[in-house]
Subunit: 583 residues, 2 copies
Amino acid sequence: MNPSARANPRPAADLERGRERRSIPKTPSQEDAVRFVALGGLEEVGRNMMFFEYKNEIVIIDIGLQFPEEDTPGIDFIIPNTTYLESKKENIKAVIITHGHYDHIGAVPYLMARLGNPTIYTTALTKEMLVKRQEEFTNAPRLDIQVVKNRDKIRLSENFEADFFSVTHTIPDTTGVILKTPAGNLVHFAEMKFDYDKEGKPQGLEEFEKIGKLGIHALFIDSTNAEVPGFSVSERVVEKNLEDIVKKAQGRVIIGIFSSLLTRIAEVLKIAEKYDRRVAVSGLSMKTNIQIAQNLGYIKTKKGAIITLEEIHKYKDEKLLILSTGAQGEPNASLMRIASGEHRQIEIKPGDTVVFSSSVIPGNERSIQGLKDNLTRQGAKVYTSKLVDIHSTGHAPQEELKVIMKLIKPRFVIPIHGYYFMRAANAELAHEVKIPKQNVFLIDNGQVIHIAKEGISILEETVPAFYVMVDGLGVGDVGEVVMRDRRVLAQEGMVVVIATLDRRTGRFLKNPDIISRGFIYLRENKDLVEDVRKRIRGIIGRIPRYQELEPDYIKTLIRDQIGQFLYNKTRRRPMILPVVIEV
Amino acid sequence: MNPSARANPRPAADLERGRERRSIPKTPSQEDAVRFVALGGLEEVGRNMMFFEYKNEIVIIDIGLQFPEEDTPGIDFIIPNTTYLESKKENIKAVIITHGHYDHIGAVPYLMARLGNPTIYTTALTKEMLVKRQEEFTNAPRLDIQVVKNRDKIRLSENFEADFFSVTHTIPDTTGVILKTPAGNLVHFAEMKFDYDKEGKPQGLEEFEKIGKLGIHALFIDSTNAEVPGFSVSERVVEKNLEDIVKKAQGRVIIGIFSSLLTRIAEVLKIAEKYDRRVAVSGLSMKTNIQIAQNLGYIKTKKGAIITLEEIHKYKDEKLLILSTGAQGEPNASLMRIASGEHRQIEIKPGDTVVFSSSVIPGNERSIQGLKDNLTRQGAKVYTSKLVDIHSTGHAPQEELKVIMKLIKPRFVIPIHGYYFMRAANAELAHEVKIPKQNVFLIDNGQVIHIAKEGISILEETVPAFYVMVDGLGVGDVGEVVMRDRRVLAQEGMVVVIATLDRRTGRFLKNPDIISRGFIYLRENKDLVEDVRKRIRGIIGRIPRYQELEPDYIKTLIRDQIGQFLYNKTRRRPMILPVVIEV
């Protein structure tokens, strides 16, 4: 078993452990019970997709993707497994999309056709982002989207009604939803944080208080920052710090930021205007998002405030601010191209100020280090949120989570979004605000929970939730075997051994061919190659003449003996691929 | 070019940029000048090795290794390149080893023979660690080690004298050195931090003041934390927090820690004794290190305080504390085996407390997340330094660095250890304490600096400093070609295409063989395989009969056309390995 796979146990193993932990009532009441399943987002940060099911009605919330991990090399994305939903697609009454981040909308182009292209309910900005992205996929169906606003109440189906309410996140138009169901009121707001005013007072808490007064049966609550003590850094503080940096910068200011952090991008545009800097945008996704936000009025700029990259040479350095994608060190994104001197219009020079206004996604630390190094070497002054608060999370930390739970007063809490240890930390917070332990449920992707008026229980039934990988044009055709091979190839390389034999005599028709990649540089190790050839001849030679040639048997001999020989010589275990050609 | 390689530019590229940045005096005075070269440690955190050269005398400081990175898959270690030193090995008068961490001692077994096994000057604890490690390498020479103590003054050669002085780090017996040379007094203390007493007062600063009074020409100063504001967390605070956790734990306490953090391991043993817990040690390297530290009196325990893992069942949970290696999520280390249920004596159970008393090395975030997840799932309460100060760095942050520079008052500062951006931050700190910009030198691995009484300059000359990779038994035999292949194989996999042809007719003797790994699961894609075969037959078929078979030409055709075909079909670019067998 692969060690990194072990460190991130897959659903099957988790479920087993889950069963050990909790006794499961065998005969839950089926009357008026709503089933809830998370197809992703519970053993990871990303790939968010969950659904509620009542009799023959299904409501889905979010259809996100996850970016590849160390143990899934070479793939593009990981998307949720929709096997269960596909078999019941005529029951899907609605898809609610909470906001426009890729971990909530990213799998829409891959999955909507399979789900029968049901109606999507979402806010105006998210709609535009969905439509724009869908256009990039030529075979994906045209989406049927109904735009919702804050305080809209919409009947989704006979048994589900949705009350939408706005929440603060790092992208405008993020929505929470109160699902009114036969089992009670269920609250789900994908992700949110407190909004603070200039005095640092949290805003909009009365909204949660109002929700609490409706009587909430179960709350599904984000756990991404449940481990982080305290309150979030106010976006007002971030604004002020960014403003200070722009104010004192003598040359150009380049701000690296996620293209989806539209709330902050809007702030940066205001700051640029205040300090009389024109803004050029580098990175296609950011350009698109800004355009969409402008069309909807979320970003307001004076005429001429945003210029093209081709125009930047017309302005003095101290009159320029560049917004760039790639603050995570992504290989082909704008900031990396700027740093490596491969950007067509922008080259770093002494006097430049580069600001990383983003968090570091775990796994990207090394590339960001390399990026910072490269920028500093070329003379830029680099600011990161390690030095000064120039980024604030979109996810409520401990104290905010507790306030939310206190105001909403749910009977049951189901921590969602994040690794088990994050959700376990969230469960602790629920206990701290006096929600009894037995009313908090830590479930896994694919586990089915049964929400009845009388109470909630975890069923023994599960739904497939294993990874579906997207690699090039293939969706789901790269599985565990291919991943395992890639991991082995990356670690040890491979050796192809070709024995060309006479079908009748079993004799070699030519010297064995040896090809290797990623193992050792063969041209510089001719003795080793000769030794391997000699051994292969020995292996075949020892097979008695009267014995018929059995290619599989010969292959096994070669694999074992050449593998062992190379290990003894080098202490490495390349993948050995024996080929026996009989002519 | 590989994008991640681009993010971590290799010395060659760096040197070019270095040359652009700084004008270099063409004819530095050679009289009484000492040359300084870092062979590692300057574009990385790790692989520390530097040397001073005066006429025909060379003094080396540290011979460390670096752990592999994302862009060097499958290798064991990266060690310094000693080509230059090997050609002058008779000049090597001394090797000074500052402390026992692997990034300072790790390459000793690989390199000492190549360097002519010169005398090592180091402290008692470091000596024992060096000797112990050397024993693991059967062909490595017996080391010639002279033990030094605080305040020892040792003449290393005609022109080099070394005054040793103790510094505080996370391992006892760390030494700094004042090298008295014809060019002046040079100060080098590999790594250090302030030592604070219980009241939070820094200790031992008078030592630096004394050094400052000697008149210091150049200071070589650690930059690892030059980006981190403020002072370090006092080890007394860490002790107190660890004690609080142990005090309130109801069941077993498992502390994950680096085996080389011997100072803290000693503290933990004291805490265990205070709360009447026996200590079991899991992890060979930790056992060895504790044994060595006990022998030298750095760790003092009562009889019976340390028990074996086989004995733990004899004690109640609340009477046990387990010290474990693997807090970085290393695949085969103790903590990972405990978490995955593969440890022979220890299995996690509810009530266990697991403490990560270590920093997170960039690149290990994902495995540590997986590890935490696994431990929490099994019922352990997990503490990390994100939640509470249970780790303190061994590297001085900004304010400590500034105090050191103020006290030592060097004329010149050469920031060492760490990426360029860390060293650039250190240079800023030097400027803040009024060391003129032109007296601070940011150099790269392999660059030669010329230290004369009159001043310091960077020479145009460079010394080879590129990576030497250790993979299994091979040292340096895995080069850039093999690394590049491993990266491609990991991302896209490979396809071997074997065409067996009749030498005379150029006709196929059999159907082309296709083998693939890490690309697509061929058994489930038989149509694709058939298409590839058809295309190969087409490629060969189109070659006119009268034309002689040219295997290289055929291979190129197959590589290009099959590569393009597979890309069109899948949008993936596996490595294509064509083999033409003529019989």
